[in-house]
């Protein structure tokens, strides 16, 4: 691979929550470098602290130790594109209003921001649903809104926290393909969180495996396979077994 420019460095991130029943250490000394325009997958078992790590990366939560350093300076709120695990799209806003929000609050005029939002709505395949409200959409469609909304920030860093976790297998495969297509059309730095091993191998330029208790980085894998990857190819299955052997919980 060509020389890679560092985009984000998570340095020795630790997070301990103080709860009624005592301190809970969730993350310990997590250090991850993210390279510019790579599709980085962070793979970890359920409840291991992936969402906490992403919230720290996004500046929505403070680590109890360590720091996140952005090569281009700490982004302001609104400078990152985030897809949340539980969507968190606003039920009182229709698809268009959800997607255009980040531009609207920046004061971009209505015509410009609608055009730009429309571009991303089309990109995720929701043309025709601009005026629908979330309760009228399926889970997969809601997550597409979440993805379009994140892209509409025009950010060069995308954080996706298990975006396809709640989808059925069929929709999931389809969304994985689409997300790669979008990324290949316009390269950005993507940090993609998942607990699904196949998904990680199918998508990642690089895979960071999390594990242990408290959670830390266990290993790094580079699936050296051309895209689109074949779930049943030998290389795919070999890598799958290699990672599975190194995983403490059944993924």
């Amino acid at each position: 691979m060509a020389v890679q420019k560092n985009k984000i460095s998570m340095k020795n991130i630790s997070k301990t929550f103080t709860t009624r029943t005592g301190d809970v250490s969730v993350l310990k000394d997590v250090s991850i470098n993210v390279f510019e325009n790579e599709f980085l997958v962070i793979l970890g078992p359920g409840q291991c602290g992936k969402t906490v790590l992403m919230n720290i990366l996004a500046g929505l939560e403070q680590p109890t130790g360590g720091e996140v350093v952005f090569a281009d300076g700490t982004p302001k709120m609104g400078d990152l594109g985030i897809v949340f695990q539980k969507y968190y799209i606003y039920p009182w806003k229709n698809v268009m209003q959800n997607v255009e929000l980040s531009q609207e609050v920046k004061g971009v005029d209505k015509k410009t921001r609608r055009e730009s939002a429309q571009k991303y709505i089309d990109l995720v395949g929701l043309s025709g649903f601009e005026k629908s409200i979330p309760r009228e959409l399926s889970g997969g469609m809601k997550q597409r809104v979440g993805i379009a909304r994140a892209y509409a920030t025009e950010s060069d860093i995308m954080i996706m926290d298990e975006p396809f976790g709640a989808l059925d297998a069929q929709t999931r495969y389809q969304m994985q393909e689409e997300i790669l297509k979008i990324w290949e059309k316009k390269k950005r730095t993507v940090i993609f969180v998942t607990s699904n091993l196949e998904e990680a191998i199918y998508l990642g330029d690089r895979i960071i495996l999390l594990g242990g208790s408290p959670t830390s980085v266990k290993a790094e894998y580079i699936p050296d396979m051309p895209r689109p990857r074949n779930y049943t190819s030998k290389e795919f299955l070999d890598l799958r077994n290699e990672i599975a052997d190194n995983t403490d919980l059944a993924l």
């Binding site: 709120m77 400078d79 985030i82 606003y90 609050v105 920046k106």
Partner: protein, 258 residues
């Protein structure tokens, strides 16, 4: 099966009301009772619909009471929501002002009546003020708790998309608490309606509360009972209107009705 269950649900409410009227009839037919029969009540109702008492027919009395409620209500909604938002969204304002509110809140609105009458006489002002007090409190409380109980991740998501504190209020906090605010407005409406009847029973020349007292003075129980039923029906209708409004204002909360 479906049809049968629809039928059941159409019949049961009628049965319930029918049973009430039945019990009422039996009670009213007892020797020496003051309870008017349903028929007497209905006839009295028809009479006051057309024959004025204190220069006004029943619809006029109802309108007088409604006008008092609604004029106080406008103020209560605007000021109540603003106060609730200030308490729920600006911790410093809450720290400064909410102790005052917490002290005054438990006082039953009707306990204000004597003071209000001494201060403002028996005109419209004290009645409107009383309704205002009764309606303001639930609106403030519901608005505040609606805002305070928003899922913090909804707020964080808004922040992550660049909303500042004020934009978060209008894009996230207020819409998220609209259902709670509407519930507060519903409570406020029944509380306000209660207050107006109470105020009119103590000092008024018109209004449904006044009519009830007139019935008491004249020993006219049919008048009292028909007014009570009218109060119940009006209050029911107001709350039905608000339920409709809920569907319009928060379509994301309620199933679309075809």
């Amino acid at each position: 099966m479906k049809k049968f269950s629809n039928l059941i649900y159409a019949v049961l409410p009628v049965l319930g009301v029918g049973a009430l009227i039945g019990v009422w009839t039996i009670l009213s037919l007892q020797e020496g009772t003051l309870i008017p029969t349903p028929v007497e009540t209905w006839e009295r109702f028809l009479v006051i619909m057309t024959d004025p008492i204190s220069k006004a027919t029943l619809p006029v009395h109802v309108l007088v009471s409604l006008k008092r409620v609604l004029s106080a209500f406008g103020f209560a909604i605007v000021l109540g929501i603003i106060t609730g938002v200030l308490f729920g969204w600006y911790p410093r304002v809450k720290a400064l002002l909410s102790p005052i509110f917490e002290l005054l809140r438990p006082i039953p609105p009707i306990a204000w009546i004597p003071l209000l009458i001494l201060m403002f006489g028996i005109g419209e002002v004290p009645k409107i003020l009383l309704v205002f007090i009764g309606a303001f409190i639930p609106i403030v409380m519901n608005t505040q708790s609606g805002i305070e109980s928003i899922d913090p991740m909804l707020i964080k998501a808004g922040q992550s998309f660049g909303c500042n504190h004020r934009q978060l209020l209008f894009h996230v906090a207020l819409p998220a608490s609209t259902p709670a605010i509407l519930a507060g407005i519903k409570m406020a409406l029944s509380s306000g309606w209660m207050c107006v009847v109470a105020a009119e029973m103590i000092a008024a020349k018109q209004g449904v509360g006044f009519l009830i007292v007139r019935g008491q003075e004249a020993g006219d129980t049919a008048l009292i009972v028909s007014c009570m039923l009218v109060i119940g029906v009006v209050s029911f209708l107001l709350s039905a209107i608000l339920t409709k409004l809920e569907g319009v204002l928060c379509p994301w909360q309620f199933k679309k009705t075809k």
